[in-house]
Subunit: 718 residues, 2 copies
């Protein structure tokens, strides 16, 4: 076992000689200063150590001035005494607790970068206590469930229920009411929880959080809150005319990183304390400017004995006029970076580029890599993860279709509503367009938005880095930024095959309207389709009377640029002039032949068609329709199987006479290229089809026989 790092030379020889003599003479108590696994300090008669001077990172003591220097300079001189200068790490498998307040779509994205940095450096089990609104909870519950990180627990607390406790406080800070919620944490976290580290969503770790946790050991008996001094002059006042900040000790403290000793806070009557202080200050001050931070500082000004000042490196504050340079210019190590300007990583700071690199490291970091076990701690594997591992272990690596089987078992991390999203108002015949895509189809989104004015639910298959490129793409597009009714769900990439049906199922599960239009990303619907479909659903009384799938006939253009037909008449003219074709007319006519394009030309009313082998029309169905079969990954048969399922469940197939959608040209996908070039790929698809039919027979009995028969018949041209 090696220590993780070493303090610098303190007259090494002399020191160590003494150390060992001391050890043998006095009998070192190995339990001393350890904290019990439940988070309470072991009361073994060890003297509590206030924080003592640090050794500078260049390995030399620099005399008294360094020992009594500016607390911003990385070491601090409060309560100097003869005590442990090396805060010890908590035991290897001790569970560390972290609390974070998180609300809305953007903070939910932001907090993930923080969590990734935490997980990257951590060596202890962690438990996250997340105070969330409904939006963040929905996103983060899905994310952590699918992330399956070992030795990471997550609990959720309803922010909504806390609002009454703080809504009486007028607050001007951009974080709104949520900014105040850290004040009430001692009251809402489990009573058995003794200590917690509280973090803002806009901090990034550059070190192991256990080192921060170790600083609890330095609290005196009276100290209950650990904080880093503010690195701006805000609380000194007079930044401008009539600038009157809340009261604070000197520069005050920043609450982006807090060590809270919860059981002591409860003992000292924290709730009473901060409320009285806030009420009193609000008699003369109109509102808080910096949310909870103003109130924490006002309480500390009154009770300075409560605070344990922490080294500045644990909260390097990068606001616009920060004095943080005094901290980091001498520090060899930065521990936590705090983007506490409303401009976040775009803050103007001469070293912002340097710090941004830390942030970008975790922004683009593949979160799948954080699914790693902690060595030497009792197994922390989740039951779902164990089940998955068993299933994966049962696969035969020599099976030619191993990749296919592995891919369909893969649990992808899912980040639903990656961007801000407003659910559509409840309307009885409303329809969500459902589709999936990867980076190479982003350029379809703007056109799709112009063609479909209704709600959309889109699954995007991306790496963590690509998700950020996607975010910038949307921000740069006025068309996309203007739409709040398009929900983007990021499914993180893992494995060699495109999990097309898993993606469709994610998008389908997140559709919030009673009906869905199951489309593909390279199709543009007729401009009128959204309105026409809603009217058709109403007319056909789909909801109550009929169990039907409405077929939207599919066409294709081979031109990069063409004028989209504004009516069925225009479409037919283009078809006649050879500028449009029925979809896959040249390559795969059986996919759409049952739609009966000849009849559609003349049709004035919806007409029923029969299922036939390989039929894969684009359809409108109720939201609770059967899911797609996730065994079909990569290219081939993924939609065909779904239509079989609809037919087996006795959905009528009704073709709508005025509906149409048009496929735009693109290069063949990597998967279709692999399908064409690899006989193994084609053989595996065949094997999957056969297994699908076996399952179908099990579920539908003799009724499923017709699908098997159709599969075994030689193909006739459509």
């Amino acid at each position: 076992m090696l220590p993780r790092g070493r303090p610098r030379a303190l007259g090494a020889a002399a020191l160590l000689l003494l150390l060992l003599i001391g050890f043998f003479l006095l009998g070192g108590d190995p339990e001393c200063e350890r904290l019990e696994p439940d988070g309470r300090a072991g009361d073994l008669g060890c003297p509590r150590c206030p924080l003592t001077p640090r050794v500078p990172s260049d390995g030399r003591l620099r005399g008294a001035s360094a020992l009594h220097g500016d607390p911003l300079a990385g070491h601090w001189d409060h309560n100097r005494s003869a005590c442990d200068p090396w805060p010890q790490l908590p035991p290897k498998c001790e569970l560390l607790h972290v609390a974070i307040v998180c609300a809305g779509h953007n903070s939910s994205r932001e907090v993930i970068t923080l969590v990734k940095s935490l997980l990257f450096y951590r060596k202890n089990p962690l438990h996250l206590h997340l105070v969330t609104d409904a939006v963040a909870r929905n996103i983060l519950e899905t994310l952590f469930r699918t992330w399956m990180v070992p030795a990471l627990g997550v609990s959720f607390y309803h922010a909504e229920q806390l609002k009454p406790q703080i809504s009486w406080i007028p607050n001007k800070h951009y974080s709104g009411l949520y900014g105040l919620m850290k004040l009430v944490l001692p009251g809402i976290l489990p009573p058995g929880l003794a200590r917690v580290i509280v973090l803002d969503t806009d901090v990034t770790f550059a070190s192991d959080i256990a080192e921060l946790w170790a600083l609890f050991a330095h609290f005196s008996d009276k100290q209950v809150i650990g904080l880093v001094e503010n690195q701006s002059d805000w609380y000194l006042g007079n930044l401008w005319k009539n600038h009157r900040p809340w009261p604070a000790l000197g520069r005050g403290f920043n609450t982006g990183v807090i060590l809270l000793w919860l059981d002591r806070l409860r003992q000292v009557g924290w709730e009473q304390m901060w409320k009285l202080t806030a009420q009193r200050e609000l008699l003369t001050l109109a509102a808080t400017s910096l949310a909870d931070q103003d109130i924490f500082n006002a309480v500390i000004k009154e009770h300075p004995e409560l605070v344990q000042p922490l080294p500045c490196v644990w909260n390097v504050q990068l606001s616009d006029h920060t004095r943080a340079e005094h901290c980091y210019s001498e520090a060899a190590d930065l521990k936590v970076i705090h983007w506490n300007s409303p401009k976040k990583v775009r803050v103007k700071n001469k070293h912002a580029g340097f710090f941004r690199n830390f942030y970008l490291t975790f922004l683009g970091y593949d979160g799948n890599l954080l699914r790693r076990e902690l060595f030497g701690c009792p197994s922390q594997t989740l039951p779902e993860a164990e089940q998955l591992q068993r299933a994966l272990a049962q696969l035969d690596e020599e099976d030619a279709c191993f990749e296919f089987r592995q891919q369909q078992l893969t649990v992808h991390r899912v980040h639903i509503t990656f961007l801000p999203h407003k659910p559509p108002p409840p309307r009885p015949h409303d329809i969500t367009l459902v589709a999936q895509l990867s980076m190479d189809r982003l350029q379809m989104l703007e056109a799709l938005c112009r063609h479909w004015p209704g709600p959309m639910s889109l699954a995007l298959y991306l790496t963590d880095a690509e998700a950020q490129q996607f975010l910038h793409f949307v921000e740069a597009s006025p068309v996309l930024s203007a739409r709040q009714d398009v929900a983007y769900h990021v499914v993180y990439r893992e494995g060699p095959l495109y999990p097309v049906n898993q993606l469709r199922n994610v998008a389908l599960a997140q559709a919030l309207t009673p009906y869905v239009f199951l489309s593909d990303i390279d199709f543009l619907p007729a401009y009128s389709l959204y309105d026409y479909l809603r009217a058709s659903i109403e007319q056909l009384e789909l909801g109550s009377r009929r169990k039907a799938a409405l077929v939207v006939p599919a066409f294709e253009t081979l031109r990069y640029r063409f004028t989209f037909p504004s009516s069925k008449a225009e479409l037919l003219a283009l078809l006649d002039s050879g500028l449009l074709y029925t979809f896959r007319y040249h390559e795969w006519p059986q996919g759409h032949a049952p739609t009966d394009y000849a009849r559609w030309r003349e049709a004035q009313a919806p007409y029923r068609v029969q299922w036939a082998a390989d039929y894969e029309p684009y359809v409108v169905v109720p939201r609770d329709c059967p899911r797609y079969d996730p065994r079909f990954v990569g290219f081939g048969w993924n939609k065909v199987a779904h239509i079989v399922e609809l037919d087996a469940q006795e959905f009528e197939l009704l073709v709508l006479p005025e509906a149409f959608t048009i496929h735009l040209p693109h290069a063949p996908s990597l998967d279709i290229s692999r399908f064409r070039s690899s006989s193994t790929y084609r053989d595996c698809l065949q094997a999957l089809k056969e297994e699908f039919h076996q399952d179908l027979s099990r579920r539908y009995g003799a009724a499923a026989l017709k699908y098997l028969t159709a599969l075994q018949q030689p193909r006739s041209p459509a």
Copy 2:
């Protein structure tokens, strides 16, 4: 300044009391144990400390058994004595030296992952001493020059020149002769260099290399080599019948990570020493099995006083039958992971998944993020980087074309010949196809290989993670794997616009034949084109007599699948039947109109055509032709400007009567979508065009007037 970590409780109270008493009583010497900046130990009368017992990571001393435990268990018990248990880090700005032997394409890729992990954790300036063959030197010189990492120096040493010193040693190890070169490092590294850390290319750092460097402080006066014990039973012998390893102390030592005290090695006559030992052993042993490692171990067996054993965490060896688990199962920290199985990261090991994540972290890590300054050390900025920073600082952020100007100044990291490549044999009329692409065009590569049997030089615009996907794509393709004459040059992505002309210039600069065919990735040349062009060059006596660009007429198909014409006659038939068009006939006819397709139909011999505005044919030119203008980034005018340049330099434009190339359909690129939708984009392109013409006038004077006139004339339909 804070210490970077803390050892665990050693009876904290007792210890610290003693420590401070000791400090005041004996007067700690802050200089003690420090090493001088030149790398020699400061001789200040401090006792040299052999390595002493470590404190286990759970913070408790576990009695004598832990102190005298298995050296594999993370702490080690050699020369136990009362001395510094916390090796101190070298001073913050001390330059650390690393030597690596690297040869060939694959090792050059591998070493970059090692270097990324080094740079990620390092806090000191580093100097890499790279012993390379010509291939690795070519790759790595380009890479480090374009990477521009501050506080990173690189020196190259010719492996070729070292071969005579070791080629007399028969060696069965897969690393070949290069595996033996570590033996001769003391002789070839600069005489002033006192110490160096030697690394194999297949190690990954999970910690700051300064911590490893700090272990030099523990060498006794006689010790010259620091090594970690082997974590396999190889040197114990008897693994199979007649298994007779080289002599070693016990399990022997692994040479994947070596601390070499160079000046002492020179003093003890290292060169003589290892040569004598090797010669003697080779009298009875046929060859080395593990290259340099066998010889290091044989020397150490004879002179055990030379070796300083290092903690096992500094070389966790993941071979197939490793005993490494004894090391890492108790270690809280792993410092260096060594993939010392020929299977590398595919090694079978029950924890391989865990370790692989460390490796994958750096494999996919964006190397651009490592271009960060070291705080608090004297500026280490390279002159090129400073010049670049000045140029970037002069840009006006408010300029609407800021992104364009920034993109053209960007120096992209370039990894030439990313995959194994065999240069074409010198032939007087040979032609390299030159093109560039990003991930979304990978699926073109196989078809391109089928159509062009000659050499190719392709620039790929990728992220670090995409480069790995690309590698797997090629490995999975028998067509691509079979080709050794296709050179792939990875240009790492940075910035929002596609640097099309910088990419073309990278591919062009790496072409090794006298002629180049300047193509685009979405074109497939006629099957016969490679042979036909070589014959035409010879016939037209291009090399000596004529300065000409040979025009290859361009066509396009709008079909996903079509039968490629095998002759001009077939092509003309497809053209007549409307299955093929001349390129961009519908959208941008002026781009190719000057080729005069009507004349081409009938032509039997090459014919000369005149330049006209917006002409952008695909041409064959000598390799030393003008470069592309890098100011054109994103979509538009990038080839047009190059043809203008050719015309200005009086290249004849000769259309070849039997040559053709066909464009395949694909979705519009993101850049063309932006061009179409953004008026700023179009305005910036216009501004760039005007600046291009001003430069043209400066260079060609009145002769350039015709281009400006053409630019200003209203467009007539082609």
